[in-house]
């Protein structure tokens, strides 16, 4: 195995979305990421559909997608012997990652201050919804809650009376990049200075980076940003427009034009002879977006979304069909980027995975499937701690390795 993170070892207590996606970047690039779970407290996503075949603790693709290339050891952290094992593993690790409620790790004797005593240059990545300090440090919740708290739900809808939130635990897919960037910065700092540190990643503060312009605007003007459908202060047309149904399925195209040249090109491709007089100038279109939408929507309705997008793009107009997940699976650009893959999972066999959104030209990473629960317990304990088969068996019998 070769990858940019070769030689790094991460002891990963994180679960659900943000933590696992953060460490996945390292695992997919060669780091040994050792996930610590137990049958008593498995990563909650292991029990969450979709499953490959029948439901089962090793069969969730949802879990698999965020935990590719990792190892799993099963240790019951509620036992003192289990916590003792972890403390022996820590000196072998560069990074400890966790996403528990604030204070959980410290109660186990595994907080940053405790672990730096046994590994002084440890990098300790702690992430939770609202940060390790402050009055809401202990707030328990998921990305749905945070999407609401951070302002994303209110900014999603046709109007303030018609909110339509972004799908799923949306902020779970914003915060990991900030977390991983911070982790990589801390690793580099350790390389330069020999010093480890604690990283407190508040998923709330990370998410607000995506809303930074609206924050600056609010503080400067007092104007509260409103949900505005697909309206834009820069583009008209700007939106999703209905195209011809295909096999009884709705098709839409997203397109945007910010000058007269793109407008004229759009009209020509849509087969309109000339712009309606009141909509010929960009400045006018910006003030009459409803009319623009209605006019464009009438024209697109007889077109094929895919073909129309290709023609508009040829003319320099940003456009793409509105794709659902089945469209993504056959999207030629994702395919040619090598995005989707099928990995051989130990219990399930071939399982579909999302791949890399980036390509490191000289040192591409490579993925393996997510581990079965406890798949690597014996291997890791014998290799890192030199434990014998008999010792490991005894810990299993005592339900410490569980």
């Amino acid at each position: 195995m070769t990858g940019v993170a070769d030689g790094l070892r991460v002891l990963d207590f994180s679960w659900f979305g943000v933590g696992p996606i953060t460490t996945k970047y390292l695992a997919d690039n060669g780091a040994e990421v050792i996930k610590v779970e137990s049958r008593k407290h498995p990563d909650g996503l292991r029990l969450t559909p979709p499953f490959s075949g029948p439901p089962g603790i090793n069969r969730s693709q949802y879990f698999g997608n965020f935990n590719s290339s990792k190892k799993s050891i099963s240790i019951d952290m509620t036992t003192s012997a289990g916590r003792g094992l972890v403390r022996k593993l820590v000196p072998h690790c560069d990074v400890v990652a966790e996403s528990f409620r604030v204070g959980t790790m410290a109660r186990w004797g595994l907080g940053y201050e405790q672990l730096r005593e046994i590994r002084p240059d440890i990098i300790y990545y702690a992430t939770c919804l609202q940060g390790q300090t402050g009055p809401r440090a202990g707030f328990a919740g998921f990305g749905m809650q945070l999407s609401a708290i951070a302002g994303l739900y209110y900014l999603s809808g046709y109007s303030p009376e018609e909110l339509t939130p972004p799908h799923g635990p949306y902020t779970d897919f914003i915060a990991p990049r900030f977390g991983c960037f911070a982790l990589l910065a801390a690793l580099d700092h350790r390389r330069r200075t020999g010093k480890g540190q604690l990283i407190d990643l508040s998923q709330y503060e990370a998410t607000l980076q995506f809303l930074a312009p609206a924050i600056t605007h609010y503080f400067a003007t007092g104007v509260v940003a409103q949900p505005a459908g697909n309206r834009s202060p820069r583009y008209a047309p700007h939106g999703a427009y209905r195209c011809r149904d295909v096999d009884g399925r709705e098709r839409w195209i997203a397109l945007a034009a910010d000058d007269d040249q793109k407008w004229d090109a759009t009209l020509a491709i849509l087969g309109a002879a000339a712009s309606p007089p009141g909509l010929a100038a960009h400045a006018d279109r910006l003030t009459r977006p409803h009319e623009v939408d209605e006019y464009v929507g009438r024209l697109t309705s007889s077109h094929d979304a895919g073909q129309l997008a290709a023609e508009l793009q040829q003319a320099g107009v940003p456009a793409y069909p509105v794709q659902d997940c089945s469209d993504l699976r056959v999207d030629a650009n994702l395919r040619d980027f090598g995005f989707f893959g099928v990995l051989e999972q130990a219990e399930c066999g071939p399982m579909p995975y999302d791949g890399f959104a980036y390509r490191l030209g000289r040192t591409p990473g490579s993925q393996t499937a997510a581990p079965n629960l406890g798949e690597h317990t014996s291997e890791v304990l014998s290799r890192l701690l030199g434990m014998s088969a008999a010792e490991i068996r005894r810990l299993r019998d005592d339900n410490v390795l569980y």
């Binding site: 605007h217 509105v322 659902d324």
Partner: protein, 444 residues
Amino acid sequence: MTKQAGGERVSRAEDGAVTPGGGPLCGYRVLDLTDEAGALAGKMFADFGADVVKVEPPGGCPTRRIPPFLDERAGPEDGCFFQAMAAGKRSVVIDLGQPEGRELLSRLAEAADFLIESFPLGYLDGIGLSYDALAAGNPRLIYTCVTPFGDRGPGATWTAADIVGWAAGGMMAMMGAPGRAPLQVSVPQAFSHGASEAAVASMLAHLERARSGRGQKVVVSMQAAGVWATNAETALPALEGRSLSRSGIIPAGMSRTSIRKCADGYVQLMVGGGVFLATTVGLLDWLAEFGPVPGVVAAIDFATWTPERFRSGDAGFLAELAACDAAISDLLLRVTKAEIVSRSDANGWVVAPVSTMADVARDRQLAARSFYQQVEHPGLGRDLTLAGPFARFSGTPAPPAWRAPMLGEHTAEVLRGELGLTAAEFAALEAADVIGSASQGALR
């Protein structure tokens, strides 16, 4: 709120040296050749103390004119997007359309650690600033291309607006109401997914460069980065033979999301067992303060709300759930968002306010962590408040926020002071409009 004065920056690149207080990435230089598709990437580097030099065309980067604006003006320093996303960067104006400008960029790249760009595919290659060309002068360079749809497919040369990226990556199809147009978020998101992915990918390459001494070319697909936001629903067609579509206007909501109207806005909460049980029971107790709760609800034995029963989906349980749901919706209409948040804070409920930007600006958790940062902006003659750092380090805190640069503000500092152009060379390039500086009055 901490406030940063408008004079000198705290730290400056010192060839890989670590400066106390400079942040974890101090000492690295990033050439930022991006527009809105990559602006956040450079911002992330700048937040951690890297020296990010934004190379802009004469007249300024188009991101300077993205609305909304701070006030009535729409000049190059007035855009909120720019002030937010260029904060902490320096600005150097170079016309890459002229050979002398390209030569300057090549020389800057010799001393840079990262170059991040989001030009149309092939543009830099075509003007002699390809990865191979720049790597010849600096094999350590990490050269990151932020593309809309990758560099190999039929859409490699296509262009994007944010909404188009949102559609291409799959998020748009799942947002909106059936029968109505699919939606984007009103503060556009897709470019930021690609840009933040580019920041991570660049740092992954940097991790390896520390060992090998070699840089490389990195390519990012905004579309693919956006697919990561779909919550892994991409496997549904293969595993369950279905795909998700728009789920509707709240409060109908999708099963895993529930927004409810309260007296003066909305809150997000889920009625149910498990981690939501204490919240459910607590809200029902609150309802009782207003009068008798419905008999069906009063009769529920919550000890029977076990995960097993939830999974079995038995009709009795579902009826109880529906009754609680209706009762709680009734309660919420009688109370305000602030009252709900206050009770939730006191009791540890899993209830989230549907916050507006005004709520986010006043949030006491963010205030307790001194999240927002105020900066002076002498060019605008006012202070600005910016989003603060996205991660807290115990050992190397991020440096204080720094305002966005004025157009060409650092052209002389970088090209004369650091690249070593003579006064005569600088003046000649400026006269030929190859470069532009603030002192020249920039900037047409």
